[in-house]
């Protein structure tokens, strides 16, 4: 599982744009199901080594909430016995599709890249707790690399609710900012801040540096972030310093994806919690790190 995958988020959309808000108030998630599905679209950026895989998965598309993931089993990789968790990046209940964002880092993600339209695979999903912004009115969302994936459905729901939100998307280089168009199209370029480590696009520096500046300028009452763990630790520290409720989507190696094997636990103030079903989204204050 040291692949590329992270539980990225997805919004629980009922239809493609309006999903909504009541979903945030009650936290009941759909139970995961095993669903055989087929690839309906594959987009791959050679320069970034990042792809978008769209699957016909009507059950998952109808039930998924922002922040949940699917546990994916790939055909033709029998020697790789574990499924891979991928956040649902986008979902369209009316079309019955979900889209996953993946970065090629190992055998499974290399194999994903080779899948063509019509390829069959199996998902277990939707799995996990979703984001819980509650009644937040000013939200700041931070995505590092492909960690942006689980934020899209969240952003979509917040926009549908008319909640003010600001995004910071960061990557090492401009080529890796593959989600820019999707997020900017959703919230407008002015609310979509970009950072690159090398300054080839947007602000030169880290997402957390940009976030610190935004937090100094305007009040926020909710922060959601997904990305590399060092970034998430900094986000948690920023949120704690500003006393803002903060949720983080964590990545762990996973086996069952059902909460049974205890392979993916995260140490929290409530003892060990399972990243698969108690997470992958955690309240930053509860994490022991």
């Amino acid at each position: 599982m040291a692949e590329a995958s992270r539980p990225e988020a997805s919004p629980a959309t009922r239809d493609c744009t309006s999903g909504l808000a009541e979903a945030f108030v009650s936290v009941e998630c759909a139970l995961p199901q095993c669903e055989d599905c087929t690839v309906v679209a594959q987009r791959f950026s050679e320069r970034a080594g990042i792809g978008e895989l769209t699957l016909a998965a009507p059950l998952c598309a109808a039930g998924v909430r922002p922040g949940q993931f699917v546990h994916l089993r790939l055909p033709g990789l029998e020697a790789h016995i574990l499924r891979r968790p991928f956040s649902v990046y986008r979902a369209c209940a009316s079309a019955g599709t979900i889209t996953l964002l993946y970065q090629v880092v190992g055998a499974a993600t290399r194999h994903m890249r080779s899948l063509s339209v019509g390829a069959e695979l199996s998902i277990l999903g939707p799995v996990g707790s979703g984001w819980e912004p509650g009644r937040a009115q000013r939200c700041l969302l931070l995505g590092g690399g492909v960690g942006a994936a689980p934020l899209f459905l969240l952003a979509e729901e917040l926009v549908a609710r008319g909640v003010a939100l600001c995004l910071v998307l960061g990557a090492a280089t401009r080529e890796l900012l593959v989600c820019e168009d999707a997020f900017a199209g959703l919230v407008g370029s002015a609310r979509c801040h970009l950072t690159t480590d090398d300054g080839s696009r947007g602000f030169k520096g880290r997402t957390t540096e940009r976030a610190a500046a935004l937090l100094a300028d305007e009040p926020y009452d909710y922060i959601a972030a997904c990305g590399p763990e060092p970034m998430l630790r900094k986000v948690a520290a920023l949120a704690a310093a500003a006393d803002i409720r903060c949720e983080l989507s964590l990545e762990r190696r996973m086996a069952c994806g059902l909460g049974a094997c205890l392979g993916c636990v995260v140490e929290t103030t409530r003892s060990n919690q399972r990243a698969c079903v108690d997470g992958p989204v955690f309240n930053a204050r509860e994490l022991c790190w």
Partner: protein, 309 residues
């Protein structure tokens, strides 16, 4: 399809391996939902369910990385995390009591007396059909495999557990020994009704990039298809060495895998890591085994046990 494993009557020979299945609640929900390729199935389709390891007190399990994939297998170092027997009884066991299948409780402890105390406590629970004595987990410092790699320690624990119960007592053996038949004979002589094998094979993973051990304890337990030949050989050898029935496990995924274990000498088999690849693997195996027997003209499943030509 019915068999008897050391006094435990199972409607079919398919169980699930301890630690891969929690206490069944997570899988039961999924099975009852059904899927695009499977009808809704109750948990009771299983011949028996073996719970995750239970100890007297709560154990927090291993720190750091707990799993890693390997070629056709996986390593785990969960460290027997469990909420302790009291929480187990009011939670998972109370729920299991509502399910119509034999429940084997996997018990573990840090000392011989802890195993016996634990069994004494569980004797008051009607939902328990039998015990699996875990003397073979490589992922804890005290107890676990330390007991299962010494014939005298295995015998001592088995005898203490035997004295604490008349229920079916299954001793789970480690493959990480010079001669597994020696431990098997010791457990049998001390009163085991059946033996289960194999627990995971001790292994290790290294991260070349960081030049460090992947698992905090260094060692972890290998499972999955990679260990099937090791498990088959162990079952075959122990079958010839003891008279008690065997619960075979280690990389079983398909009907043919299961049949191979029966032929090698197992009376029943358990699905473990395969449930991670496919959470519906166990019910599919139950159905597939019945069809296989019909197609092959096998009248009673027991005919297959040890039937190597």
């Amino acid at each position: 399809m019915q068999i008897t494993l050391g006094g435990l009557v199972m409607k079919n020979p398919v169980a699930v391996a301890s630690g891969t299945f929690g206490s069944g609640r997570e899988y039961a929900r999924l099975w009852e939902e059904g899927s695009t390729s499977q009808e809704p199935t109750p948990l009771s389709v299983l011949g028996a369910l073996t719970t995750k390891g239970v100890s007297l007190e709560p154990w927090s399990g291993a720190r750091g990385v707990r799993i890693a994939e390997t070629a056709s297998g996986m390593l785990n170092s969960i460290g027997l995390q469990n909420p302790g027997v009291e929480a187990f009884c009011v939670g998972d066991l109370a729920w299991l009591a509502t399910q119509d299948l034999p429940v084997i409780v996997n018990v573990c402890g840090r000392s011989a007396s802890e195993y016996a105390q634990l069994i004494s406590r569980l004797e008051t629970e009607e939902a328990v059909a039998g015990y699996e004595i875990n003397i073979s987990c490589p992922n804890v410092d005290c107890g676990g495999m330390a007991f299962g790699t010494s014939a005298s320690a295995a015998a001592e624990i088995t005898a203490l557990c035997r004295a604490a119960t008349r229920r079916p007592l299954i001793v789970k053996l480690s493959p990480n020994v010079t001669d597994i038949t020696e431990i098997a004979r010791a457990a049998e002589a001390a009163g085991a009704d059946a033996l289960s094998m194999i627990n995971t094979v001790a292994g290790m993973a290294v991260d070349a990039k960081t030049r460090s051990r992947v698992f905090d304890r260094g060692v972890a337990g290998l499972s999955g298809p990679a260990i099937k030949p090791i498990a088959l050989y162990a079952v075959s050898r122990v079958y010839k060495a003891v008279a008690v029935p065997l619960l075979g496990m280690g990389g079983i995924r398909t009907v043919v895998d299961a049949v191979e274990f029966l032929l090698a000498g197992a009376t029943a088999i358990a699905v473990g890591t395969a449930s991670f690849t496919d959470p519906l693997a166990a019910p599919q195996l139950v159905n597939g085994l019945a069809s296989w027997c019909r197609d092959e003209g096998v009248h009673t499943i027991g005919e297959l046990t040890g039937a190597l030509s």
